[in-house]
Symmetry: C2
Subunit: 337 residues, 2 copies
DNA sequence: TCTAAAAATGTCGACGTCGACAATGTGATG
DNA sequence: CATCACATTGTCGACGTCGACATTTTTAGA
C-alpha cells in the first residue's frame, strides 16, 4: 500500500507537504498542490487512518450501541438517520449490539474503547428509561429512543404523548365520538404516554372517555407478552352499530392490522362501519393492508439524524444543555379513516 | 489514556512483556503474567488498536456494504448473523451503505480503504446478479444475497428455487390440487426461481399447472412497482367453490396478507375455504396476521453467518473455491394451511 | 557440578502520520 | 538594495505497538 512518502517522492516534495495537501491545510502554492494531487491520483494513494489516529489521538469513528435495535425492523430507520449525518461529517460508524445481555454490553464497550471512538450513540428498541452512567465510560454519549434515569444525559426520543394526542385529535376531527383504544402492553412507557395524549385530546374536546373501550391489545411480562388485539377488537365490535365504537385507535400497526382482521371477520367495512388508526407507520404493514392504514408515524429517521447532530455538537464542545429532546409524531392519513 | 508502558512500569517488566501477555503469546511465566494482569486491571488499560494496526498492518475490521439493505427490515437479520460471527472472531464491523448510488458506493469504498479493512461483505436488498469486479478494490470479498455476473466471487444466497418447491410440496402434501400462485414482480430473479421450484414440484406430483391461476401480485418497473395482490386474489377467489383454487401460494408475506384480506372480503374462511402460504417469514406479518401464516422462511440470519464464515476462511487463506452457496428455505407451518 | 538447550524477558527500531519548529522563498516598503 | 513580514516548504521526532533479534534465566541431562 502506498504511503505519504511514496507520494512525496513522486511529487518531489517533502512528506509533510503532502500531508498538508491531503488535509487541506492553507498556505500551499497552487502549483505544488497540483503536483501533489497528481501524484496522489497516479499512485492511488489513500491515507492510513490508523496512523493518523496514533498521531492525533482522534479516531473519527462514532459508535452505535443497540440493545437489539438493529434487529428490529421499525427502528432500522434510526441507523439510516445516523449514517446520513455521520457520512456527511466524514466520520465512520461502528455498530455493535449487546444482544440485551450485560456481558454483551461490556464486550461492546471494550471494543469501542479499543477503537478509541470519539463518541457513542446508545439506542434501545423500546422507548424507555435506562440506567446509564455517562462517567463510567468517559466517552461523550447521546441516548436514542431512551433516556437516563439518574444522570443528565442528552437524549432524543419520540414524543409519544404528542402522537397519542394526534391520533385522538384526528378521530375527533373526523367527527367521531365513539372512540375505542386498543393499547400497547400497559407495562411499556409508550403505552402510558400515548394514552395520556389521547386523554388530553378527549378532555379538550369535551368528549367523555368510555373506560370499557380502552383495552390492552398486548399484555404479559416484557419479553413474553401475548398478542390479543384480534380478540379484543372482536369483543369491541361484536355489538349493534349503535352501541359499538365507530373508530379504533390502535397501539401500533400490528394491533391495527389485527383489528382490521377482526372487523373483516364480522363483516364490517373499513372505514365506513369502523375506522382504524395505527401507530408507528411501519410501512410494510401500513401501506400493504387493505385499505391502507391511517397511522401516527414514529420519526425514527429524524431521531437518528438529531441524535447524530447532538453528538457532534457535544464533541465540538457546543454546550448544548443535556436534555431530553422529543420529536413530534405526525399523523399520516391513508384510507382506513 | 494508559499505554502499554504505564502498565510495564507498574508491573516492573518491559513493555514488550506486557504486549506478550495482552496478545496471549506463549512463554510467559505464570508469576509474571499474574503481575502484568493485575497492573492491567488496576490501570484499566485498553490496547490501542490503531497503534497495533500501524505496526501489524491488519485492522481487524470487516466492512459491510449494503445497497439499501440495512434499510429494509427483512434483511436486518443478515446483519445480525454477520455480527454474531464477527464478534466471535474478535473483530469489528464497519457498516456503510451506498444509498444505491454509484457515488455513494465510491465513497463507501474509500472509507473502507482508509480504514484498511481486512475484508468486505457486499449485501444487496434483492437477490440478484450484480456487476462486481473483485480486483478493482483488491480486498477479499464475499457477496451476500447476490452473485457476480462475470467474475468468480464467493457468494451466499437463499435457495429460492428450493423455497418455491417447498411451498408447492406443502400444498400437495396437504392434499391440494387446485393451486394458485400470486407471484412477485416477474422482473425479480427470486420470482422466476420460486416459480421454477413450484413447477418442478407440480410436475413431480403429476398435478397440472393452471396457467390462469398464476398471476403477478406485484408488477411494474423496479423502483416503481405497484401492489395488486388484493385485486388479483379477489379475482381468483370470486368464483363458486368448485371452480376456484383451494390454496394460494404467495410470492411473499405482504402478498399473502393481501390475499387474506381478499378472502375475508369475500367471506371465505382461512384455511378451510382457502389456504394461504406466504414467503419470507417476515415475522411482523407472518406471526401477526389472523390466522398466523404458514410461510417459507428466508434464511437471512444463516446467510449472514455463512457469509462471515466464508470471508474469514478467505482471509485465513483457506482455499475455498469461489462459488455461489445456496442456503435452504425451510417451510414454517402455522395456521393458514 | 557443568553444559547445552529451552524458556523467559529485554532492547531497539519501524510502522505512517502530523505537530512543533526551522528554514527558505517572495514581495513590498522605504 | 536592504529590510521585514509573510507565505511556503522542510526537518525531526513522537504517537503506541509489536517484529526481529539479543540477552538472561531456568531446566534437564550427563
Amino acid at each position: 500500500m502506498q504511503t505519504i512518502k511514496d507520494v512525496a517522492a513522486l511529487a518531489g516534495v517533502s512528506d509533510r507537504t503532502v500531508s498538508r495537501v491531503v488535509n487541506g491545510e492553507p498556505n500551499i502554492s497552487s502549483k505544488t498542490r497540483a503536483r501533489v494531487e497528481e501524484a496522489i491520483a497516479r499512485l492511488n494513494y489513500i491515507p492510513n487512518l490508523a496512523a493518523r489516529m496514533v498521531r492525533t489521538n482522534r479516531s473519527g469513528v462514532i459508535g452505535l450501541i443497540t440493545d437489539v435495535v438493529s434487529t428490529t425492523p421499525n427502528s432500522v430507520e434510526i441507523i439510516r438517520g445516523v449514517q446520513e449525518r455521520v457520512s456527511q461529517a466524514n466520520q465512520s460508524l461502528l455498530i455493535a449490539n449487546t444482544s440485551g445481555t450485560a456481558e454483551g454490553e461490556k464486550r461492546v464497550w471494550r471494543t469501542f474503547q479499543e477503537h478509541r471512538i470519539d463518541g457513542v450513540l446508545f439506542a434501545t428498541m423500546y422507548h424507555h428509561e435506562i440506567d446509564f452512567d455517562p462517567n463510567m465510560h468517559n466517552i461523550p454519549a447521546v441516548l436514542v429512543n431512551c433516556f437516563a434515569a439518574r444522570a443528565n444525559v442528552p437524549a432524543v426520543v419520540p414524543d409519544d404523548r404528542d402522537g397519542g394526542y394526534a391520533a385522538a385529535r384526528h378521530a375527533l376531527d373526523k367527527g367521531h365520538t365513539s372512540i375505542a383504544f386498543v393499547t400497547l402492553n400497559p407495562l411499556i412507557l409508550a403505552s402510558s404516554l400515548r394514552r395520556e395524549g389521547f386523554a388530553r385530546a378527549m378532555a379538550e374536546a369535551g368528549v367523555p372517555i368510555r373506560e370499557e373501550w380502552i383495552v390492552p391489545g398486548i399484555s404479559g411480562a416484557i419479553g413474553s407478552e401475548t398478542m390479543q388485539a384480534y380478540a379484543a377488537a372482536r369483543q369491541l365490535l361484536d355489538a349493534p352499530a349503535a352501541s359499538r365504537p365507530t373508530i379504533i385507535l390502535a397501539g401500533n400497526d400490528e394491533i391495527a392490522m389485527q383489528c382490521m382482521f377482526a372487523a373483516a371477520s364480522l363483516g364490517l367495512g373499513i372505514p365506513n362501519d369502523i375506522a382504524i388508526v395505527g401507530f408507528d407507520d411501519f410501512r410494510m404493514i401500513s401501506e400493504q393492508v387493505v385499505p391502507p392504514l391511517t397511522t401516527v408515524a414514529l420519526p425514527y429517521y429524524q431521531i437518528g439524524v438529531r441524535a447524530a447532530d447532538r453528538l457532534f455538537a457535544l464533541l465540538a464542545g457546543a454546550d448544548e444543555q443535556p436534555t431530553v429532546e422529543r420529536l413530534p409524531c405526525p399523523l399520516v392519513q391513508r384510507a382506513s379513516t
